[in-house]
């Protein structure tokens, strides 16, 4: 049984409660959060014996009994927590983005490698039905070689935390989607061009144009400007050399007819959280590479940071060797 500690669990109590009945081969033994009310509540719900305000405040005995940690810490502290956990010999599942910079991400990767522990960079979108189905079809050879990825992700607007920088907010807006594109092409893009939408800030609306090796290409459209009370909208298209896949909320919408005609989006469900957790547990148990590695995480960060440079300079960037250069 893999014994898990949750670090900076925040508002994820319901996610873990929903996931636990479906989780095999793992149990949650410790919950860490700066807010003790949250830590206590989550611990009670998931059956954890130990709580603490921070990783370093966990009792030594509790730390010894943990096999792996799940890190939900705020981005500025994330890499530090990962390194601390690795130094303690614990396998790590950490939220995306892994760190604030490629260098910090590399530091986290090296810390885990040195400690011979597994590092999984959590990317819930990889475990959602749309993405899973398309990736599986691609892996099965049904679609041929990936040629084009088109992704729209529209979120309702939300007030921005004053503690977050513009770069962090832009990163948060599109890093998951960038990872999906890179994951489907299994490569770094060799061309990055980013633009924002008029009338809104870059952290509210971003358009990314990516080129991939062998002629691959992706267009990613992420916004956080839908009306505050609206449902988000998502669509993902992959055009391959011998087939194509279309996953679209538009297609998966029913109708409610009253005085007006309203679209009712059919939910994709929430089992992606449990699936991601199970993937981590299985990777640890079977000592294999997880779906979502440190290198994947570092790649997404590098592309997003390049996109931010492109956005600010209104220039495209090309990959030269292992870095991006504005052209």
């Amino acid at each position: 049984m893999i014994r898990l500690a949750l670090i900076d669990v925040g508002g994820r109590c319901s996610d873990y409660c929903a996931a636990l009945p479906h989780l095999h081969g793992a149990t949650i033994t410790s919950v860490v959060d700066a807010d003790s009310t949250i830590a206590d509540k989550v611990a009670a719900q998931v059956g954890a014996q130990t709580t603490a305000h921070s990783w370093v405040e966990l009792p030594a005995a509790a730390v010894q009994s943990i096999d792996a940690v799940v890190v939900h810490s705020p981005l500025p502290r994330r890499q530090e927590i990962v390194c601390q956990a690795a130094a303690a010999g614990k396998h790590v599942l950490v939220d995306t983005p892994l760190a604030e910079s490629s260098e910090a991400a590399q530091g986290a990767i090296e810390a885990c490698t040195s400690a011979s522990v597994h590092l999984m960079v959590g990317q819930p979108m990889r475990f959602m039905p749309y993405q899973r189905t398309i990736r599986e079809s691609l892996e099965a050879g049904k679609l041929g070689t990936a040629g084009l990825v088109r992704l729209h992700h529209w979120h309702p607007e939300k007030s921005e935390s004053i503690d977050r920088s513009t770069s962090q907010a832009v990163m948060d807006l599109a890093v998951h989607e960038v990872d999906i594109a890179c994951w489907l092409f299994e490569a770094f893009p060799n061309f990055v061009y980013a633009r924002s939408l008029s009338g809104i800030t870059p952290q509210q609306g971003l358009q990314l144009h990516l080129g991939f090796p062998a002629g691959g290409m992706a267009l990613i459209d992420c916004t956080r400007s839908l009306p505050a009370n609206s449902d988000p909208y998502y669509s993902l298209t992959l055009i391959g050399s011998t087939g194509a896949a279309y996953a679209d909320d538009h297609r998966n919408t029913n109708l409610l007819l009253r005085s007006d005609c309203v679209g009712l989006k059919v939910s994709q469900g929430h089992d992606y959280f449990a699936r991601q957790l199970q993937e981590f547990v299985d990777a640890v148990k079977h000592d294999r590479t997880p779906n979502g590695t440190g290198e994947d995480g570092k790649r997404a960060i590098a592309v997003m940071l390049t996109a931010i440079e492109s956005l600010q300079s209104r220039r495209a960037a090309k990959r030269v060797g292992d870095r991006y250069v504005l052209c």
Binding site: S198, G199, G215, M217, T223, R315
Partner: protein
């Protein structure tokens, strides 16, 4: 009162109808347009004359191997042009100079200088010009209505996907090293049977050139904004024919437009297997007050039956009056001496956008669109 009820029919000369004949047929099906002659240049190859003659025979009108003689003898008022793409503008200029109003098949031209000749001739002779388009499809008209109603607020972004699910011969990678590259003209001539010969001509042209006008015309119709700069990625991803002739069958374009409007275009001839119908064509519009997702093919009726051929589309578009509405718009433009829904200058702007995208795809650089001053 629609224009079908106004005035006498216009006499139509069909100048070269060698590819899909839907433009000529659409015009002729409207009550204001009467075909009187098919004509082409005598120096055209036999296969061109054969196709022209077939069309003339079907409509029981004469076919002349002399364009100017046909115009002089049959006194048409309209020219409908569906030649090979590289001849489009020359025929349009000649027709305009003979004071004929012109309906031209897409693309406008393979050269911007030819588009400029058309504009000069059309404006000097004060004749009407229309590029054939799909702007009157019901879903597109609905999108226009939503935009005009203000429900989206100020438009911020517009995205169009235009995937055309047709094969173009054998898949990429199927040619052995010892085989000769596929011949563009011969392949497109053979594609006439399936109607997938929009790029027929001596000069190979990729899908951005062949099909790009349709989605770019949607964008212009919904935004009225010019594209100022583009970033494009292009490739031959599906078809040996395109790879052998170094033209694109898949493209993505970022469109930087007037008024800080942002657009994107994904376009490709993605192959029969990649969609159960003609293809996936969608629009996504983002505005300051709302957003819109449009499936261009709707309304549709789905029909399935035992033994249904794989090549038959499962969804049939219904309530599609695009052809009639375009022809009617053209008649109204002539009657009222007004602009058509896709005139020469806008068509030239679209052509310039396509050419800039092709250059961007080749160079990997952002390219300014070469608009008329």
């Amino acid at each position: 009162m629609c224009s079908a009820e106004l005035g006498n029919p216009f006499r139509v000369a069909v100048l070269s109808v060698v590819k899909h004949s839907y433009v000529a047929r659409a015009m002729i099906s409207h009550g204001r347009f009467e075909p009187v002659v098919v004509a082409d240049d005598a120096n055209q190859p036999d296969w061109v004359h054969r196709r022209n003659q077939e069309f003339a025979d079907e409509f029981q009108i004469p076919y002349l191997r002399n364009v100017e003689q046909a115009i002089d003898q049959y006194q048409p008022e309209i020219a409908v042009i569906s030649s090979a793409a590289e001849r489009h503008c020359d025929l349009s200029v000649r027709a305009a100079n003979a004071n004929l109003h012109v309906v031209q098949d897409k693309p406008m031209s393979t050269q911007l200088s030819e588009c400029d000749r058309v504009i000069e001739a059309v404006e000097r002779n004060d004749v009407r010009f229309m590029m054939w388009n799909r702007n009157c499809l019901p879903a597109i008209l609905q999108a226009q209505e939503v935009v005009r109603s203000g429900r989206l607020g100020n438009l911020q972004a517009i995205h169009v996907d235009f995937y055309f699910a047709k094969d173009a011969g054998p898949p990429i990678g199927s040619r052995r090293a010892s085989d000769r590259p596929m011949d563009w003209l011969e392949s497109l001539k053979a594609a006439h049977a399936t109607g997938a010969d929009g790029g027929v001509g001596l000069k190979p042209i990729g899908e951005l050139e062949v099909e790009g006008i349709y989605p770019l015309a949607y964008i212009h119709m919904l935004t009225a904004a010019r594209v100022e700069r583009v970033a494009a990625r292009t490739t031959s991803h599906f078809h040996q024919l395109h790879a052998d002739n170094d033209v694109d069958d898949l493209a993505t374009v970022t469109l930087e437009m007037e008024n800080s409007l942002l657009g994107t275009l994904c376009l490709g001839r993605i192959g029969n297997a990649s969609h159960p119908d003609i293809g996936e064509i969608q629009l996504h519009l983002m505005g300051s007050e709302g957003s819109l997702v449009v499936s261009e093919s709707r309304p549709e009726v789905a029909v399935y039956y035992r033994g249904q051929p794989d090549t038959e589309f499962r969804h049939t578009r219904v309530a599609n009056h695009n052809d009639w509405l375009l022809a009617d718009d053209f008649a109204r433009a002539i009657d009222g001496n007004t602009d058509t829904c896709l005139d020469a200058r806008v068509s030239r702007a679209i052509c310039a956008t396509v050419h800039a995208a092709i250059e961007s795809g080749r160079t990997g650089l952002l390219v300014d669109v070469n608009h008329l001053p």
